[in-house]
């Protein structure tokens, strides 16, 4: 049997049979998008951005909603069955195949989550370039899904790992956003995981355009995370097994 296909099916079943995952993926976007929007609604308009604070807040809420759900799912995928994974590797799965099934599942779930966020955003903000908005939300989710997976591979504890992902996502969305509360942020913020996805999303929502430089940066970010998570996961799953038949 094809290990990759069986692995993917197993991961999807595991995801769907965890009700909290499904509820989070479906309910959180609405709460976060509207919550973030309302939180920013009372702020004065920003001089550099034409969008009203309510809509800007909703856009930031959407990207934060995708990031935090994808990040937590990436984390859980890595640590929920670490010991069973080791046994699976002993049976013959290569760590790379196992990781590929996990990341492919994560990417699929992230696209669904991005779709839900996009739907809420579509109803509340009416973006200029809907397809681009959906794509950039998915991209932001993939960045955080891989980041969550990396955190899970390095720090295989649910509570501590969740704190890292949640704190990072909140700080990232807040500092990367154009909130007047986070004005004059230092330059290094542009290296935060959500900075460029947010630039892409904001342009797509309000102008219907995007900057290729931002897209290239995010692509590079995903690649670097992929290399890191592969290296760390491979190291944690390394066994001295391997049998002669």
């Amino acid at each position: 049997m094809n290990r990759f296909a069986v692995g993917i099916r197993s991961n999807v079943r595991t995801f769907l049979r965890t009700p909290l995952n499904v509820v989070l993926a479906l309910v959180l976007p609405l709460v976060v998008i509207e919550g973030w929007g309302q939180a920013m609604a009372g702020l004065p308009p920003m001089p550099t951005i034409e969008a009203i604070p309510l809509d800007l807040g909703r856009v930031l809420g959407a990207i934060f909603g995708v990031a935090i759900i994808a990040g937590l799912m990436g984390l859980v995928q890595m640590i929920s069955a670490r010991e069973a994974d080791r046994r699976l590797v002993q049976t013959g799965y290569s760590p790379r195949t196992l990781l590929a099934t996990r990341l492919a599942t994560l990417a699929g779930v992230t696209i669904v989550v991005a779709g839900v966020n996009f739907g809420v955003l579509w109803l509340t903000v009416e973006p200029e370039a809907p397809l681009l908005v959906f794509a950039f939300l998915a991209l932001a989710g993939v960045v955080y899904a891989f980041l969550g997976a990396l955190v899970g591979a390095v720090l295989p504890r649910l509570f501590e790992g969740s704190l890292v992902v949640v704190f990072l996502a909140m700080m990232d969305a807040f500092l990367s956003g154009d909130s007047p509360l986070a004005a004059d942020v230092p330059d290094f913020v542009q290296y935060f995981p959500l900075y460029h996805p947010k630039e892409l999303l904001q342009s797509a929502v309000f102008d219907g355009t995007f900057a290729a430089g931002d897209l290239a940066f995010v692509g590079g970010y995903v690649l670097v995370l992929l290399v890191l998570v592969t290296a760390v996961f491979g190291a944690t799953m390394r066994t001295s097994g391997g049998w002669s038949a």
Partner: protein
């Protein structure tokens, strides 16, 4: 160092399938002032085809560590492990995916072993019948009782008919009937040439074992000809006096 080699013949003609030479393992702490615990300090062990070998020892003596090193899921600090053939490993705690059903669990691990769908289905039916968990094949692992979960845990180690079977207290939670059936299976496998290595705490099982190794003070001692662990212990205490 890890090797896979052709099996070597012993004096009585049986093949050696697993050999650990001068194995050392210390569990260290990553923290600067953490404690490091040496567990194995030069353990030697050899397992031949067709025999049932018991590994005994006190709690914390290093039995599971030794088995994990022989299986290949734990790195050792020094020494060599040589293996021949396929290995089935049944860990002490069931290492399974809670939200998959029993059938899906077979499919996942069977794919790992490189088995075809037909081979997986056949193994599943055979083991479910032998260990009596047929009615639970569509149950999720997290909905099974401890004993049934352990049956699945054991079945995953057995499903690909391995040449070497490594079992870490495989009967925890079994009822008496299943326990007896398990021993019949182990004996049948050994008769067919499988090397069965088992961590055991029960003294009454010693009559079922061809050889018994005790892990003590970081080393492995062949205690096959000694009668019971308690006797061994009292002998040692007598020696110390």
């Amino acid at each position: 160092m890890e090797m896979t080699t052709a099996p070597t013949e012993t004096v009585d003609g049986s093949k050696t399938l697993v050999r650990g030479n001068v194995l050392e393992k210390t569990y260290g702490s990553r923290l600067p002032l953490g404690r490091s615990t040496p567990v194995l300090t030069g353990a030697d062990i050899e397992v031949r085809a067709g025999e049932i070998v018991g590994i005994v020892g006190e709690n914390g003596s290093g039995k599971s560590t030794l088995m994990k090193i022989l299986v290949g899921v734990l790195d050792h600090d020094a020494g060599t492990v040589e293996r021949y053939g396929t290995v089935g490993w049944c860990p002490q705690e069931p290492l399974l995916y809670d939200r998959l059903t029993v059938s899906e669990t077979f499919r996942l691990f069977g794919a790992g072993y490189g088995m075809s769908r037909e081979e997986i289905d056949a193994a599943k039916q055979r083991l479910a019948d032998e260990l009596d968990f047929e009615q639970y094949l569509d149950y999720r692992v997290d909905q099974l009782s401890g004993g049934n979960r352990q049956k699945v845990n054991l079945s995953i180690a057995l499903m690909h008919d391995p040449d070497v079977l490594m079992l870490d207290e495989p009967y925890t939670g079994f009822d008496w009937e299943t326990y007896l059936r398990f021993w019949d299976m182990a004996q049948d496998l050994a008769d067919d040439g499988t090397a069965v290595v088992m961590i055991s705490h029960l003294i009454e099982e010693r009559s079922r074992l061809d050889r018994v190794f005790e892990v003590r003070n970081g080393l492995v001692h062949d205690v096959t000809d000694d009668e019971t662990e308690s006797e061994l212990r009292s002998d040692r205490e007598g020696d110390d006096e």
